[in-house]
Symmetry: C2
Subunit: 112 residues, 2 copies
C-alpha cells in the first residue's frame, strides 16, 4: 500500500513512543518495511550504501517499533518506537540536537 518515489523509497520519521520526541529521519524501501514489521526492530535503506540497514546493528542502539502511522498520500511513515540507548551516532538522544539560530546552529535545550 505505501507509495514509493522514483528511487523506491519513502521518508520515515522515528518518534519516541512515550515522550513524542523526534529521534531521526531515514528512508525505507519495501524490504526495510517488511523487515521492520517482521522483526519489530526498525530497518532502513541506506541511500549511500544502497543496502538494507538494521538501526543499531553495530551500536546495539536498536529501535523497538510500537506503531507505524501512514500519512494521507501514503508516501511517508511515522515510526513510533522505544529506543535502546541514544539514537544518534554522535551519542545524542536524538539526531535533531541543534536549533537553527540566525546563521548558526546551537544545541537544543532539555525541554525539547
Amino acid at each position: 500500500m505505501p507509495k514509493f518515489d522514483a528511487a523506491g523509497l519513502l521518508s520515515a520519521v522515528v518518534q519516541h513512543a512515550e515522550s513524542g520526541e523526534i529521534l531521526m529521519l531515514a528512508f525505507m524501501d519495501s524490504e526495510a518495511i517488511e523487515k521492520t514489521r517482521e522483526t519489530g526492530l526498525a530497518h532502513f535503506h541506506s541511500r549511500s550504501r544502497g543496502t538494507l540497514w538494521l538501526k543499531g546493528e553495530t551500536s546495539g542502539n536498536v529501535l523497538r517499533v510500537k506503531k507505524i502511522l501512514v500519512d494521507c498520500d501514503q508516501d511517508a511513515l511515522v515510526i513510533k518506537a522505544l529506543p535502546d540507548g541514544p539514537t544518534c551516532h554522535t551519542g545524542a538522544r536524538s539526531c535533531f540536537y541543534r536549533v537553527l539560530d540566525g546563521d548558526s546552529l546551537t544545541p537544543v535545550g532539555e525541554d525539547l
Copy 2:
C-alpha cells in the same frame, strides 16, 4: 548550511510546537527555507508542481514556525510550529491519521 539531495531538496517534518504531535512531512529547497525564515510561515517545495508552496495559501491553515531543528548530517529539518486549523488537506489535524495494522489502515486514536 543545510545539505540538499541531488534534486536540491531535504525532508522537513512538521511537529506541533506544544503537543509534540507530528503533523506532516514535506520537502524544502533553499528558497522554501529562506521564505519560511523570512515570513515565519512554513513554505515547502512541491515535488509534483515543481514550485514554491506556502502551506495554507488556499485553505488559510498556515503553520506558524517557532523553531527549526537540524539533524546530525544536516539533511533533514524538524519544523516546530503552531498550526492555524487542521494541517491535513483531508481536514484531519495531522496527515498521519492512520495506523498500519496488519494489511489495513485504521484511524489513530485520540491518544496520538
